[in-house]
Symmetry: C2
DNA sequence: AGAAGTATTAATAGACCTATTAAATAGGAG
DNA sequence: CTCCTATTTAATAGGTCTATTAATACTTCT
């Protein structure tokens, strides 16, 4: 009947859930243990320190989060279509990990030391993906299909719209009086709206 | 020689700075006292509890933050111009209070109870401003000057671009290896880029 | 100067947290 | 059954935090 997976896995999952909800500082190993239903010392037995446990959770989540960027679209489709797919993929990943952006930001702000390790994980992959993206964008601009814009600005705008939506979720729930179901409903529309906003904004200026 | 303002004011300011940097949970009254150079008990003497001290800081900051929305543009200018001014104002307020979005979000996530009081402060003003905005937008869409879009979506997109820029500041500093000066430089360009992105995206679809 | 009030400090209670240690228990191999 | 190892628990040291209390310094008024 019971979850026979292993205590270690249970602890990891409880930790993940709590870290995502509360962040590192507000989650205690005592709370994690209580959530699992085991002794608090056991948390330390498996992961030695709270810090190490957090890293186990965090690096896993970070990989998921970055996957939406690093995947290269292989099919032979237009730049705009590629951009659309990337944004949709990005949005989907966020949708499935709604608290993740907050967690990342929270740790970035409160414990910037942690950024160093992130940087390493990101650098290589992102670098090459970005330069390819920049190249393709450049070409489109030259062809006059797209208004002049720096690749960084474009990437930033696209990411901002998606990320902000989930970051601002708690604001929305409260101020608009939504529940989770309504929010998810809204998210479906919002995904398309974000894509539209970016694609429209890229149209060349005059004619 | 010394700052003669009053200890109370000093404490408030130190608290503000620390709360903005670290958030509520990671700021201790001991740290605040140390920053001011007074005894820790004094912090409690003036503000009774850490919670009350935080509220003093927070509600003040919140008013500043909301001011960019609630101000109505009086001049007789086009809808697009109004939108441009509002976005620029919004961006400016964020620029002057760069850590504020994070603080608000942080407290919203970790202590949602606090949202209740925010809601009250927001509701009346925002409500009327929003409905006027919606009305004007509706008219522009009917005239064919702007593609169909819900006022909520538009507001959200505009806010998202601005807020995300400052929320993501720590990510940028690290991954792009910027310093504060470079970030501020980038912000100037980014303000215009955000406005452009929104305005361009609003152009009617076909012709 | 001295009394009365305010501002500030030192000391500490009580709660909770992390991490460690040592002891209890379970389950398999011989 | 017995030993061995891995898992789990109880107990606790040592730290930090908030809040309170009692004592001291500083003002002001007479």
């Amino acid at each position: 009947m019971k979850n026979e997976k292993s205590m270690e896995q249970d602890i990891l999952e409880a930790a993940e859930s709590l870290f995502l909800k509360k962040g590192f500082a507000l989650t205690s190993t005592t709370m994690i243990a209580k959530a699992v239903g085991c002794n608090q010392a056991l948390v330390h037995y498996y992961f030695r320190t709270k810090e190490k446990l957090f890293e186990a959770v965090f690096s896993l989540k970070l990989k998921i989060f970055l996957s939406s960027f690093t995947q290269i679209e292989e099919r032979d489709i237009s730049f705009e279509e590629k951009l659309r797919f990337k944004m949709e993929k990005h949005f989907d990943v966020l949708y499935k990990n709604q608290q993740l952006p907050f967690l990342i930001l929270n740790e970035l702000v409160t414990n910037p030391a942690r950024i160093a390790s992130i940087k390493e994980q990101i650098k290589d992959k992102i670098g090459s993906v970005f330069s390819q993206f920049a190249q393709e964008l450049e070409r489109e601009i030259e062809k006059g299909n797209i208004r002049p814009i720096s690749p960084l600005d474009l990437l930033f705008s696209a990411m901002s719209l998606n990320i902000a939506f989930f970051i601002l979720k708690p604001v929305m729930l409260e101020t608009l009086g939504m529940d989770n179901e309504q929010f998810n409903q809204f998210a479906l529309k919002r995904k398309e709206e974000n894509v539209m906003t970016i694609l429209n904004s890229l149209r060349p200026l005059k004619g």
